[in-house]
Amino acid sequence: MKRGARAAGRILARTAPVILGVVVAVFFLLRLVPGDPAAMILGERATPESVAALRAELGLDAPLWRQFTDFLGQVVFHFDTGASLVTGVPTRELILETAPVSAGIVVLALVLAVLIAVPLALVAALRRDGWADHLVRILPAVGMGMPLFWLGLLLIIVFAVQLGWFPVGGVGSGPGEPLRSLFLPALAVALGMAPPLIRSLRAQLIDALDADFVTTLRAARIAERRIVWRHVMRSAALPTLTLLSVNTAYLIGGTLVVERVFGINGLGSLLFQSISTRDFPVVQGVALYCAITVVLVTTVAEMLAGVLDPRLRAGDAPSSAHGAERASLIPGAQSEAR
């Protein structure tokens, strides 16, 4: 267990600077504005007085290092990026209010993406070079250039307008209604995410099917079904976990855009509304919360992979491995593991 703790410590040591980097990036977002941010926020008709007042409110008068420490303190102690310039409500509260709907879409989309991608990738890999495989392999080319919002519009046209199976927009209340309202947006995000997922998953499965150990197990006359389910699927599962965690950022970003198409009041609407009112602290807050979520999800996934993979579970301390494994950790010594 001690080794596990050390591995976790290593992962955290890599995560902490990234979180700091995220905070720094969000801080400088406001400072990227060409010219005076206060003037930009207030627009062309602002008086010099009101601009000066806003500068003071945003803390733009203080020296840069002071601005940063203030910002950092706010983020660390209050999980906040300041009060909304429009409503005066702390950004944190606005985000916590709208986040659940977005989170619902993200989770639903993740489930749908897995449900779509895994069977298709499996069929393609098992019937390699068959017609199903060729069909599945064309998908990424089509899916790559598919803007999510347009996909959402198409889904609305077909399933909401023509067929009337789902509401055109908004989130309904009542039993089962939220799920029904979130289904189409989640499906749009899932469909957008599926093509690259299918592509990598197919490659993973083919690698696993081609692995030497599959030949060994087949030679021992173990049933093909058992080999696929117990061995091939399992060895493809770990890379898939990593793949999904890497795609969290895409999921969140996609959700925010799709919300706009479906008129759902989530994090995305908050972002776009703040942009239209030039509510800078809120824009910063949304960016910060999204990025931190991504970092946390990736970190957890990485730790989970460490627990699930027996090779990682043993820790990468060279003393615990044998023969070739040890050699492969030592640069230059791999060549000796003949």
Binding site: R14, V18, G21, V22, L32, V33, P34, P140, A141, V142, G145, M146, P147, F149, W150, L153, I157, V161, D212, F213, V214, T216, R218, A219, A220, R221, I222, A223, E224, H231, R234, S235, A249, Y250, I252, G253, L256, V257, R260, I275, A291, V295, T298, D309, P310, R311, A314, P318, H322, G323, E325, A327, I330, P331, G332, A333, S335, E336, A337, R338
Partner: protein, 859 residues
């Protein structure tokens, strides 16, 4: 030539290129093609459906949709191209530098990359464009800030992998600057991947620009843009759905075009697959090599009935094998086995048959046919195989032969259950432990709970044997079962197989490239070459009087170690390091010393290379723990050891590729610094282990050799350094090729067109081009077939005798060292166990040396 052919073979490239070209020209020609002005409003003509006048109808302001589509394409393509450029340059540069140099630079670059990746792409782009101001300028800057991470990540990983490859190490060893190595050797090999990425990134950027337009953050109206067109059309989706659908289709079409183009470019730029990396494991020909990588078909691939049938299983006694007229072909139709005539083999129950041959001779495929599991992409087209009873198989590579994610016990259990369906759980457990015990694994209960990576190579191979025995086979098929193992482990596994065979009366078919191993295990031998049986007979006959050229070649390549003398007097393990200096000086003599004798002045020829108490540590691990050696000009020193002995690490430290943690190396009396100068690097040249990874891909042999000469400033004659002309160098290149026994036209070939033996000789020529005093050859023959092996050894001997170079040979193969070296250093666990002259082969002084020599299979 080759490129044109490849273009024609990549439909993705053709389709992608045509489609992309079409889209771009349509966009460029928008002012000519567009029937109307894209901004001209005709409010009375709003929302018209598609018609001959307006092919795509009109929008709510009465503007012609087709014209707007064309002009929008122009805008969007232009911005996408502009926005894709900066990230490409920044990302490729960052990835190269961070992957190549590693260390602190890499750490910082990786954390910055992680930070940017943490932001959801749309969130950060939207926020950036908002801060920077909407429009083309903001979009381009935003992508420059964000888009580089994709390239940086992929290229960093690729570069870091290439950094450790033989050819990048050799380039450094030739005294090239970091900049030259990066730009001339690494960049050309990672650029294809970057270009493929570029295609996908442009698609991403296109989609993002359109999305930003849709969100009102992109191109400002009235300039037409697909995104704003969709946004404008959204209120009318229920009535005029095509208004939103058409611009979206434009984006999708662009995406398809660029994706296909990217895939196609990837196909074209990829170096054609190397022919069989490890000669030995190649089941045959080019197609065969590919087939093997793909793994086998489902078990029990039905053999196509041919003209002649093998005897039916019933007619055979249990354990007998009958192969009649077998022919195996690749899916492409190329015949792999049975080219001239189908293979016929008969084995009585309990008999043992060895199949020997070089790589590509079809021996492994024949064995797989007996198992009834031909590799994917190959099939039996004629004849058939009948095996009476069950067959089990042992494979070559124990490190990958077991599922790394399942416990050893569960894999054996599954095999037991497959062999006897419905077996009770307790009986299964007992049988699993029983099997593990039969293969002489210590503590079966513990092994059963272990994961494969917790076992050594030899232990894993025993588990594979247990899996093969689970079905209580009458026939055991072995495909190079000990090739990947160390000599002493090989001995143990061979003994185990021999004992199991005797105990169970198994019929054995044993495939190997190593005649000595096969001769030991089998009664009868079959020699295969190029898919055909060229000779059959008893082991004794074949060794006494080989009839075929192939058999003679295999026989000549078998290690011819002298008989090991019986340990006369008790060996002196007390001081195995004592140098044995012959009383009568024999010139040239290499002498090997160890720390004990450092102070003793040598009376032989002055040392060319001298290493004193060298230590190499990797973190807390000590790979080389205090090694001293001496080498004179015109002499050869062999460094022998098994996996993990530290011999390759020592070789790299001698060549200056790794810094010594402690101790020193001297060349011609002068101490070599920790950071060697380029001239010092050139003096000692390392020929890397794997000839398939030791030459820069895509570069012709001539240009590789020429580069070394140019950077060194060398002409055809020794004193012509000042006249460094291309013509002189090309003469010198030809001289070098001649020196290593290659034809001059090899200079125009790229490495992928050369055989393993040719590549190894080119690698030696490149080492010679640097004008070295010492050549360190790391396992110079382990990847080569028998004939190529003999010729490379001969070449090394010539270099030693004719050019008077000092030669250090690193090998696990005692036969190689015996053939080439005057002196020898035996290593184990980073330390020198024994050092001595050729008397080692008859009378080793250390216990380990004796074990090692006794383990070698001899004829």
């Amino acid at each position: 030539m080759g490129r044109v052919r490849r273009v024609r073979r990549s439909p993705a490239f053709i389709a992608g290129a045509i489609l992309t070209a079409l889209l771009i020209s349509v966009a460029l020609a928008a002012p000519v093609l567009a029937p109307y002005s894209p901004t001209e409003q005709q409010l009375t003509q709003g929302l018209l459906p598609p018609s001959p006048e307006h092919w795509f109808g009109t929008d709510q302001l009465g503007r012609d949709v087709l014209s707007r589509m064309l002009f929008a394409a122009r805008t969007d393509f232009g911005i996408a191209a502009l926005a894709a450029l900066a990230p490409f340059v920044v990302g490729v540069g960052a990835g190269l530098i961070s992957g190549y140099f590693g260390g602190a630079v890499d750490w910082v670059a990786s954390r910055v990359t992680d930070t940017v990746i943490a932001f959801p792409f749309y969130v950060i782009v939207i926020a950036l464009v908002f801060a920077l101001g909407a429009g083309a300028g903001g979009i381009v800057v935003a992508f420059a800030l964000v888009g580089w991470v994709g390239y940086a990540r992929v290229l960093r990983a690729m570069t870091a992998a290439l950094r450790e490859s033989g050819w990048v190490r050799s380039a450094r060893g030739s005294g090239f600057s970091h900049a030259r190595v990066l730009l001339r050797h690494v960049l050309p090999n990672v650029l294809p991947q970057a270009v493929v990425l570029l295609a996908t990134e442009i698609v991403l950027i296109m989609v993002a620009i359109v999305t930003l337009g849709y969100l009102g953050l992109g191109i400002r109206p009235p300039t037409p843009d697909w995104g704003t067109m969709i946004a404008d059309a959204q209120p009318f989706v229920t009535t005029q759905w095509w208004l939103a659908a058409i611009p979206g289709a434009g984006v999708v079409l662009t995406g398809i075009a660029l994706s296909l183009l990217g895939d196609g470019i990837g196909d074209l730029l990829r170096v054609p697959a190397t022919q069989g990396r490890r000669g030995r494991s190649r089941p045959g020909g080019r197609a065969g090599a590919r087939a093997e990588r793909r793994g086998p078909d489902a078990p029990g691939t039905p053999d196509t009935p041919g003209a002649r049938e093998p005897r039916s299983d019933d007619a055979l006694a249990a354990g007998a094998v009958s192969v009649v007229g077998l022919r195996i072909a690749a899916e492409s139709g190329a015949m792999l086995v049975g080219k001239r005539a189908g293979i016929d083999l008969e084995l009585r129950a309990g008999e043992s048959l060895g199949i020997v041959g070089e790589s590509g001779s079809g021996k492994s495929l024949t064995l797989r046919a007996m198992l009834g599991m031909l590799p994917r992409g190959t099939r039996a087209v004629d004849g058939g195989v009948a095996v009476a009873g069950a067959a089990g198989m042992v494979f070559q590579e124990p490190l990958t032969a077991l599922d790394p994610l399942s416990r050893v016990g569960s894999q054996v259990r599954a095999a037991v259950q497959a062999a006897s369906p419905g077996i009770a759980r307790r009986a299964t457990e007992k049988r699993v432990l029983d099997l593990l015990e039969q293969v002489r694994l210590p503590d079966p209960a513990r092994i059963s709970r272990a994961y494969p990576h917790e076992l050594s190579g030899g232990q894993r191979q025993r588990v594979v044997i247990a899996l093969a025995l689970a079905g209580s086979p009458e026939v055991l098929l072995c495909d190079e079962p000990t090739t990947a193992l160390d000599v002493t482990v090989q001995r143990e596994v061979l003994d185990l197989l021999g004992r199991l065979r005797a105990e169970r009366g198994l019929t054995l078919v044993f495939v190997s490239h190593d005649l000595a191993v096969v001769a030991e295990m089998c009664d009868r031998l079959v020699v295969m070459a190029d898919g055909d049986v060229v000779e059959t007979g008893t082991v004794g006959d074949l060794i006494e009087a080989p009839r075929s050229a192939e058999a003679r070649a295999l026989l000549a390549a078998a290690p011819s170690l002298p008989e090991l003398a019986a340990p006369a007097e008790p060996a002196v393990p007390s001081d195995p390091f004592e140098p044995s200096v012959p009383d009568t000086p024999v010139a040239p003599v290499t002498s090997v010393t160890h720390r004990a004798s450092d102070s003793v002045p040598r009376r032989d020829a002055p040392a060319l290379l001298e290493v004193r108490d060298a230590r190499v540590h990797f973190g807390a691990t000590s790979a080389v723990a205090g090694v001293s050696l001496r080498l004179e000009a015109g002499a050869a020193l062999g460094i022998v050891g098994e996996s993990g002995s530290g011999k390759t690490t020592l070789a790299r430290a001698i060549a200056g590729q790794l810094p010594l943690t402690a101790g020193e190396a001297r060349l011609g009396g002068a101490v070599l610094g920790t950071k060697r100068s380029r001239a010092e690097l050139r003096r000692i040249q390392l020929v890397p282990q794997d000839p398939y990874a030791s030459l820069t891909p895509r570069r012709t042999v001539g240009s590789v050799l020429d580069e070394v000469l140019r950077v060194r400033g060398a002409g055809p004659t020794a004193h012509a350094a000042s006249r460094n002309l291309a013509a002189d160098r090309s003469i010198r290149v030809r001289q070098l090729l001649h020196r290593v026994g290659l034809e001059p036209d090899v200079a125009d070939a790229t490495p992928d067109r050369l055989s393993g033996g040719q590549r190894q000789r080119v690698a030696i020529a490149r080492a010679l081009a640097a004008d070295p005093q010492v050549i360190v050859a790391d396992e110079p023959t382990s990847a080569l077939d028998t004939t190529a092996r003999a010729r490379v050894l001969e070449l090394l001997r010539d270099l030693r005798d004719e050019l008077g170079l000092g030669v250090v040979v690193i090998s696990h193969d005692l036969g190689v060292v015996h053939e080439l070296c005057d002196r020898l250093l035996l290593m184990r666990g980073g330390e020198v166990v024994e050092s001595g002259d050729r008397s080692f082969f008859t009378a080793p002084r250390s216990e380990y040396g004796r074990t090692l020599l006794a383990s070698v299979a001899r004829l």
